[in-house]
Symmetry: C2
Subunit: 283 residues, 2 copies
């Protein structure tokens, strides 16, 4: 009987728990969460078998850390202190440089695999967990060479069960690319929602007219501030850099409008249509 401890039983931790239980019924899943009502909910809907706490981790075959990235930084050393020599710890936060730095000299660094499964929805908490969430998605593994080979193998077996494809990256490159492709999308979506809410005092107008593309561009503005604030904090430099480029492009578009340069507007859109080809097969 494998014992798996999931720290943070929300969208990501809960979905992994569901998939693991589904592919390996011979597993007991323990939940650890700062939010006690989340633990009760997780038991009730069958995500975990029992509650646990950090002192129980010496019994763990595997520990998944799926908490907001600020909490992750705070607990990671205690988790490594608490586990056995054989335990695999997988951390799944959306930023990778800070977490890799904080464990760099820890005696149990080789028990940890730093990953970022690129999957999720705009929802959070145990009820957001979905069976099969990771199937066909990319999992980015950072500093793989710092993890013990046997534990790498064990983790890769798990990711194969989840249906994930693997990419290896260093933490600096990960944080830069993810700022471009994910973090900027969240900011553009939040600020779009904010701008429209500010202008439309009558919410009925938003609701009635939202069919025209608004609801998909603003979807990410439903995301959890508790999860996203520390991500932006840890990835501040990359996020500021890409945000500046985004603002510059918007300014240029506005300038084309102000100068009635519709040829330029047409060609900006035509060049960006190319995104169709890039995304083909993703959605």
């Amino acid at each position: 009987m494998q014992k798996i401890y999931v720290i943070g039983i929300g969208l990501i931790g809960g979905s992994m728990a569901l998939d693991i239980k589904n592919s390996n019924p011979n597993t007991t899943i323990y939940g650890i969460d700062a939010n006690v009502s989340h633990l009760d909910e997780a038991i009730e809907i069958g995500l975990i078998d029992a509650k646990a706490n950090i002192n129980d981790l010496e019994n763990a075959d595997m520990v998944l850390i799926a908490v907001p990235v600020d909490a992750s930084l705070m607990i990671i050393k205690d988790v490594l202190d608490a586990i056995s020599e054989k335990t695999l710890v997988i951390e799944v936060g959306s930023t990778k440089e800070a977490i890799c730095n904080v464990v760099k000299t820890h005696p149990k660094r080789r028990n940890l695999l730093a990953t970022h499964p690129i999957a999720g929805t705009e929802f959070s908490g145990p009820k957001a967990a979905i069976l099969g969430l990771f199937n066909g998605k990319t999992n980015i593994i950072c500093e793989v060479e710092e993890t013990a080979f046997k534990l790498q193998e064990k983790a890769l077996k798990l990711f194969a069960d989840l249906g994930m494809r693997i990419r290896y990256m260093n933490p600096k490159a990960h944080d830069k690319h993810i700022a471009y492709v994910s973090h900027l999308s969240h900011i553009s979506s939040f600020m779009l929602g904010k701008t429209v809410i500010e202008k439309e005092k009558n919410e009925r107008d938003i609701f009635d007219m939202a069919g025209s593309g608004f609801e998909s561009t603003v979807r990410l503005a439903k995301s959890s501030p508790a999860m996203w604030t520390p991500i932006f904090e840890q990835n501040k430099d990359n996020v500021i850099e890409i945000l500046e480029e985004y603002i510059a492009n918007l300014e240029q578009f506005k300038n084309h409008l102000e100068t009635d340069n519709y040829k330029a507007i047409y060609s900006e859109m035509e060049n960006t249509n190319h995104i169709k080809t890039i995304l083909k097969g993703i959605v």
Copy 2:
């Protein structure tokens, strides 16, 4: 046998043709399109029964104008000149002030109903047509009092068959609100796509990491430049105004990051989460 002429047999015109044929099989649908291959395609996939041209419109019971808004401005008077006294003309463009202005003094103004069905996808052309596209969506009708009462009734019957709910608005208000809720979303999405494509020289990186929210925020960047350039042109003033507010909000967010004001970032996101409630029931 009702004769309906659809001018512009793409996503909107084609989808309306499908719905009309579905709810009223006793209808002949004629297609008129500047793009001959679109007409052939439309016949092949069963959107229309036959090709026609603008001189045939005197036989029409109903004409749908579903072309880009610049083309609409150019042909609307010719269409009104060509129809009979009893013909209903429905125009479905995404901007309403320019079209209402151009027909203001036309002797057949009362044959025209100016509408904006808030429905669509990022795709275009006859193959983008979908049965049931308008079901449950909002249709905005402008200057309803300028349309003959009998023809209003006929149009409302059609929209009821399509499953649409109706809102009445003046053209100025329509163009302002739609700039907030639709046009800004398209610009934010196009510029997001542009920014990420510029930074990610290796498209594989976009593809692999796009799971994390990018594909929904960038969906609208697949939209047709031929359709959208004239929309931005006709709604220039409103679009510039809302774009300025959007850029100001992005600048403020960046400033919060630069000054490490994470409390402000948290509360911006928390306040915008409210969009969940507003959109409930739309998606």
